[in-house]
Amino acid sequence: MLPLDPAHIPGATIVVGILAGVIAGSLGALLGIGGGVFLIPLLNVGLGLPLKAAAGISLMTVIATSNAVAVTSESRRFINARLGMLLQVAAVAGGLFGALVVQGLSVRTLYVILALVTGVIAVVMLTRLDRRNVILDSSTDPGVLGGRFYEDESGAEVVYRVRRLPAALSVALGSGVISGLLGIGGGILQVPALNAWCGIPMRAAASTSAAMIGITALGSAPIYYARGHIIAPLAAATVLGVLAGSRLGLWYAPRARARSLKLLMAVVLAAVALIYFYRSVAA
């Protein structure tokens, strides 16, 4: 572990923080999952930051990425705000709960949770590479919570209904708890689950999740801030890196194919899971 004095962070560490932000931000924006899941290993394993400090910085970048997504027209057309805000009721409660209980958990327990969560999602994504939850008939009624958007790939308007709302709410609550515990946005759980269980197209699930996780993160970020877990200079470096990186990711996103997005997501998550299983054993 590096002995880090918040008042004197070396320039080299700040540069690494910016780079970690650029990498996490571009991948996160591309996948609509906020980037925290990439940033935690980069800061924790790469820079040797304690997990809670990495989580605190990650929550800040999640808020920044989410803000950026919410004002970008490319993503805005996929955002389903009515569904997103309903899920937010559960997610913010989970975030608050997670931030409160994280103090009592051992580092090893947190490693195991992170490894399990990412491992499970990687498997889910790999088994669902070619599934599409779209109805290519614009006369379909999307219902109270569903939505519609124009998809470039099929050249038609996509309409979808929301299935299994209790499942969606449970997923939002769970991802909020994970967000409060680990500092990852929670989109890592929400996007595949909303896609797999609730019939929401990948693009809509990703954009809605990306826009809402900033508010989910706000359910726990002020508590990390108050506890002094957020190292301000490193948080600033990482946030700026993430903002630059997310612009890069959003610029490329319309060209990315849904299948390759899922495959990339699964591979990265599997790698993160392996890293943390190893670390939980080594801890």
Binding site: H8, M85, L96, I223, V239
Partner: protein, 97 residues
């Protein structure tokens, strides 16, 4: 059908302005830190982080004001619940600084 989108275009500039303000403040704070004045840097950086954390709240308030004009009671109720939860978080954070 009610517009499922998040923010209306005429208020997007507020969120954009806050995004730029927090980014600029954090950049200035970072430069101060690298330049070797950690105390002033810390004050500026904290300001930037607070603007950053305030942005999603402002975003939510703008969205709900738009929905008020559309008389979207469902959205108003749901958003109020979320804002109540967030004030619980802020309350806990300020009590435990």
């Amino acid at each position: 059908m009610t517009d499922p989108q998040d923010l209306r275009t005429q208020f997007l500039w507020v969120v954009r302005a806050m995004l730029v303000a927090s980014g600029a403040t954090l950049a200035v704070g970072l430069l101060l830190h690298v330049a070797g004045s950690p105390v002033r840097a810390d004050q500026v950086l904290r300001g930037g982080l607070v603007i950053l954390m305030a942005t999603p709240v402002v975003r939510t308030l703008i969205a709900v004001s738009e929905r008020l004009r559309q008389r979207d009671r469902y959205y108003l109720l749901v958003t109020t619940l979320v804002l109540l939860e967030l004030s619980l978080t802020f309350w806990y954070a300020t009590m435990h600084v």
